[in-house]
Point group: C2
C-alpha cells in the first residue's frame, strides 16, 4: 500500500503542476481543493522542498510552487522519494536494498523472482506518467 503521506504528496504536486508558471499557490488553496489536512500538508511540502521539488515563499502572499517542469517529474520518482522504493518486498528493489528478514538466499527465493517482475512492470507504468499528465488513465501504455 502507498502511505497516506505519499498519496497526499502526489496529489499536492499534481495541483501545483496545474498552476505551473503562475507563481506560488497558498497552502489554503491546495487544502481546499485537494481535501488534505492543512498542518500535515505543511510537513509534506517542507519535505518536498528539501528534496528540491518545491520552492516556497513566506509572508503575506506566500505559498508553494513546483520547481521542475511538470513533464520532468515522474510519478515513480515521487513514490521513490516518499517511500524509498516501488517494490512490494524489500529484496525486490532495483536500488541497493536491504535483505528481507527470515528469508532464503535471494538467488533461491522464488517469491523474490516474481516480485522483481511486478516491480519492473509497476515502474514501467509509473515512470511513463508525469505531473503533466491530466487524465492519467489515458496515457499511452507502450512497453
Amino acid at each position: 500500500m502507498l502511505s497516506q503521506k505519499s498519496r497526499y504528496a502526489i496529489r499536492a504536486l499534481q495541483h501545483l503542476a496545474d498552476r505551473y508558471g503562475q507563481g506560488v499557490v497558498p497552502l489554503a488553496e491546495i487544502v481546499a481543493a485537494q481535501n488534505i489536512p492543512a498542518k500535515f500538508l505543511t510537513v509534506i511540502l517542507s519535505e518536498l522542498g528539501r528534496e528540491g521539488l518545491v520552492r516556497s515563499q513566506r509572508g503575506r502572499v506566500g505559498g508553494y510552487a513546483l520547481i521542475p517542469a511538470p513533464t520532468e517529474v515522474r510519478i515513480g520518482d515521487v513514490i521513490r522519494l516518499m517511500r524509498g522504493s516501488i517494490a512490494l518486498v524489500p529484496c525486490a528493489s532495483r536500488d541497493p536494498h536491504e535483505h528481507c528478514e527470515h528469508c532464503l538466499p535471494e538467488a533461491e527465493c522464488r517469491l523474490r523472482a516474481l516480485m522483481l517482475r511486478v516491480r519492473d512492470e509497476t515502474a514501467r507504468i509509473l515512470d511513463a506518467v508525469t505531473l503533466a499528465d491530466g487524465n492519467l488513465a489515458l496515457v499511452a501504455d507502450k512497453p
Copy 2:
C-alpha cells in the same frame, strides 16, 4: 509492501506445493527449510486452513498439506486472501472497496486512475503464476 505474514504464507504454500501428494509435512520441516519462526507459522497455517487452502493432521505424525492442486492456486489469490487486495491504494481495488480518506470523489482522482492501471498489471502477473511454478521468473509473460 507485502506484510511479512503474506510472504511467509506464500513461501510456506510453495513448500507444501513441492510436497504435494506426499502426505502431510510437519511444521518443523517447513520452518527449517524456509527459515520462518515456528510459532508464527502455526498461526499462519491455521489461518490458511480456515480458508480451505491447507489441511492439517494432529498427533504423532502430524503436519500440513496443500488441499488444491498447486496449479489451481494463483499467487494473486493468496495475496488477496492475506492482504485483502492487490491494489496499492484502497480505492484502486477491483473488488468492493473502501473509499480513501481525505480524497476527491473517485471519478475525479487522477491518482486513482493511475493506480487502477498498476493494479491491473500487477494482477495480470500474479494471477498467471501458481504454486506449481518452480522458477517463477521464467513463467511466460503473455498479456
